[in-house]
């Protein structure tokens, strides 16, 4: 009797564990503070919504650190199921054929129907391959937008500029009103990459690098970009533009302290800015040049995407697909968007937030999405450039030199072209 009972108990334990044994999946990300908390919240919601999978998010530091950690883990076969990779690192992971399972394949294989058109236009191509297939799943997406010190503009009696020509016209008035007319926080993302997207100018050969890594070269010596930086330097000399180095917050601080009239920041800055800004503010699109034909297109997305790493079991991959479906559902997207300030990646989530009156309460939250939804141009879909984090470092160095009067705009841009092209050529060899 006792034997029978214990056998039954054993059987019960067994069946219980097999039915309860959820498949564990891990997610490495590079977010901390408030955004990291929201990620934990999203994972908790996912785990509560179903029983088959158990997701554990792990913060690995910054964007660069999570990519380095993911690479090291992959090489020793310890990779997580999901890796968050930032915009500039996209080429590194997408060109490593076999490191990731394209998100679209993963989702289709799990029996869901993947709809590319459900995503906001500006987001659709950036992490996709040349044929438009989603490789990464867009996650935290942001756009560079212009924040406006409303009091400053009122005091100077001017309207927010749509183009850089308009800015040039109102800058003396803003200065006379006692403000630094313009500050920004990242010359690479806001005035180089998104100069090319907003003004619809080609950034690199081979279809902005999407077609192949072989022989891809930068187009940074483009006369239009040279004009942009010549103007910036000129504005800086006249006092229209304040530059405080390559650090993001050194520049943002000037705006927060009510010393500047306009600040080019990220749509994702808005949550933090609400706490730190000492004056009322609003926002509008990143200006473009009226003089460049075809300008005014959408901007590239910044931020990061999620990649499903290869080398995992089918059960785990199914869970990752489940999670991607969950993450792109309108409810969760809206939650993420409202909690962090990052834009929604799907149209449905945007409509939901709009319907619920979120943008009447916080109009600034809509600016980034609207800018990403502007009509796309041939060159505003994205770029795919290897060793891009290093190319950005070269740009940061040369741009700083321009404003420190150590080099001319022309020389700086040709140095960026030369060193950038060398890096691209080196990258082409890595996959060889």
């Amino acid at each position: 009797m006792l034997k029978k009972l214990s056998l039954a108990a054993l059987a019960l334990v067994f069946s219980a564990t097999t039915s309860m044994a959820a498949t564990d999946i891990t997610w490495w990300h590079g977010m901390s503070g408030k955004n990291g908390d929201v990620i934990n919240e999203v994972a908790k919601k996912f785990n509560a919504a179903q029983t088959a999978c158990n997701l554990t998010p792990v913060s690995k530091g910054t964007y660069e650190e999570v990519l380095a950690a993911g690479i090291a883990a992959f090489r020793s076969g310890e990779q997580p199921n999901i890796l968050q990779v930032f915009d500039a690192g996209a080429a590194t992971i997408i060109n490593a054929k076999g490191a990731v399972i394209p998100a679209e394949d993963l989702i289709n294989k799990a029996g869901y129907k993947f709809d590319r058109n459900a995503f906001i236009d500006g987001i659709r191509y950036f992490y996709a391959d040349a044929s438009g297939k989603f490789v990464g799943m867009p996650f935290n997406s942001s756009a560079p937008i212009m924040y406006i010190n409303t009091d400053a503009l009122k005091k100077a009696g001017v309207e927010a500029p749509k183009t850089w020509e308009e800015f040039e016209a109102i800058a003396p008035k803003l200065m006379a009103a006692g403000f630094i007319p313009l500050v920004q926080s990242q010359l690479t993302w806001e005035f180089t990459e998104n100069f090319f997207s907003r003004n619809n100018v080609q950034f690199a050969s081979n279809n902005n690098g999407y077609d192949t890594t072989e022989g891809t070269v930068l187009n940074v010596t483009d006369p239009n970009l040279e004009m942009m930086f010549t103007k910036l330097k000129d504005w800086s000399d006249k006092g229209y533009f304040g530059y405080y180095g390559a650090g993001w917050s050194d520049n943002q601080k000037v705006f927060e302290d009510n010393k500047a009239a306009l600040w080019i920041g990220s749509s994702g800055s808005f949550g933090g800015l609400q706490k730190t800004a000492t004056m009322p503010f609003s926002a509008t699109f990143l200006p473009y040049w009226g003089s460049i034909k075809g300008a005014g297109t959408n901007s590239f997305i910044g931020g990061a995407a999620l990649f499903a790493m290869s080398g995992k079991s089918d059960a785990e991959n199914k869970c990752v697909a489940d999670f991607f479906q969950f993450l792109t559902s309108a409810e969760i997207q809206k939650f993420w968007h409202e909690q962090t300030g990052y834009v929604t990646v799907t149209k449905a989530a945007y409509d939901l937030a709009k319907k619920e009156g979120w943008y009447e309460k916080t109009p600034v939250a809509e600016v980034g999405i609207k800018q990403l939804m502007l009509p796309a141009g041939q060159w505003s879909k994205g770029y795919r450039l290897g060793f891009y984090p290093q190319i950005r470092e070269v740009m940061e160095r040369e741009y700083n030199k321009i404003f420190a009067n150590e080099t001319s705009v022309k020389d700086a841009l040709s140095t960026i072209k030369k060193e950038g092209d060398d890096l691209l050529a080196r990258f082409a060899k890595t996959s060889g």
Binding site: Y244, G245, G247, Q390, E393, E406, G432
Partner: protein, 293 residues
């Protein structure tokens, strides 16, 4: 003294085995791996790699950027080593003379050493902040418009300043104990022979301090070359741009942030050679002049 004899031939090897294993796993193996990958251009995920011979080395050596960083590293190392040794010695000599309240004085000086390099960098960064830094305001009184993070010289100044500040207490501790190790009888004899304190220091105290100084010289060299990483990282705030950085920071930027394993390996091998040459030089030419009492 009693000589220790091992009964077994293998026992001594067994005793040094753990140490050798640690050295092998954490030093020789990674070094060999670095040398190997410095000859390749590799996809970071390890899918493809192509043998490029010495191209990684020639690419690095040809880049004016790299040579500029190397030049800064030399200047930075010399300045940091010199000032932290000199100031540490000065404070130690002065502290050695203090009789009343010497413990409090010494504790205040030593406590800085307990601060971790990134925290020191952070404090330094606040000190030199463009908007709120007290030092920046102080400099402005003399018409020096400091722009740390934008101006190369200003950032270099701040980096040297913070790195020296961080290292002084360490040198202070060693110099002070070195000074206190000099027998009172020797000092008294010197005091009778020579009234000039300055001269007495250079002819009697300094030579007796040589073993300590030599040890500190090597430690400070490695500190300025490698351990200042945390200070630099915090000072440039993740964006090196045109700011001065050292060779170690460049290895980190290319390898860990840029994922260029081949190029970064080549740089670390170059660094390895530099340190090797420096160490040989120090032991062959400087240590000979050191008199170990």
């Amino acid at each position: 003294m009693k000589r220790v004899q091992f009964d077994s031939k293998f026992l001594p090897y067994l005793f040094i085995a753990p140490q050798m294993a640690v050295i092998f796993i954490f030093f020789y193996w990674p070094s060999a791996e670095a040398i190997r990958s410095s000859f390749y251009l590799e996809d970071p995920f390890g899918f493809g790699s192509s043998f490029v011979g010495l191209a990684n080395y020639t690419d690095v050596m040809k880049a004016p950027e790299y040579l500029g960083i190397a030049r800064f590293t030399v200047i930075f190392t010399v300045l940091v080593t010199f000032f932290s040794l000199a100031l540490g010695l000065l404070l130690a000599v002065k502290a050695d003379h203090v009789i009343r309240g010497s413990t409090a004085y010494k504790t205040i000086l030593i406590s800085v050493y307990a601060i971790a390099p990134p925290v020191a960098g952070l404090i330094g960064m606040m000190f030199f902040d463009q908007h709120i830094g007290p030092f920046v305001r102080f400099a402005a009184l003399f018409g020096w418009n400091m722009k740390v993070g934008l101006d190369y010289f200003d950032t270099a100044f701040a980096m040297v300043f913070v790195s020296v500040w961080k290292q002084i207490p360490y040198n202070f501790i060693f110099f002070l104990s070195g000074l206190q190790g000099i027998p009172v009888s020797v000092r008294e004899a010197a005091a009778i022979d020579c009234r000039n304190g300055f001269r007495r220091f250079w002819t009697v105290t300094a030579p007796l301090l040589m073993p300590t100084s030599f040890f500190l010289l090597i430690i400070n060299f490695t500190y300025s070359l490698f351990d200042t990483f945390g200070v630099i990282d915090v000072m440039v705030k993740d964006k090196a741009a045109n700011n001065p950085i050292t060779l170690v920071y460049k290895v980190y930027m290319d390898g860990f942030r840029g994922n260029d394993l081949g190029g970064s390996s080549a740089q670390s091998v170059i660094l390895m050679i530099v340190v090797l040459v420096l160490t040989i030089f120090q032991f062959r030419f400087i240590e000979r002049r050191v008199h170990y009492g």
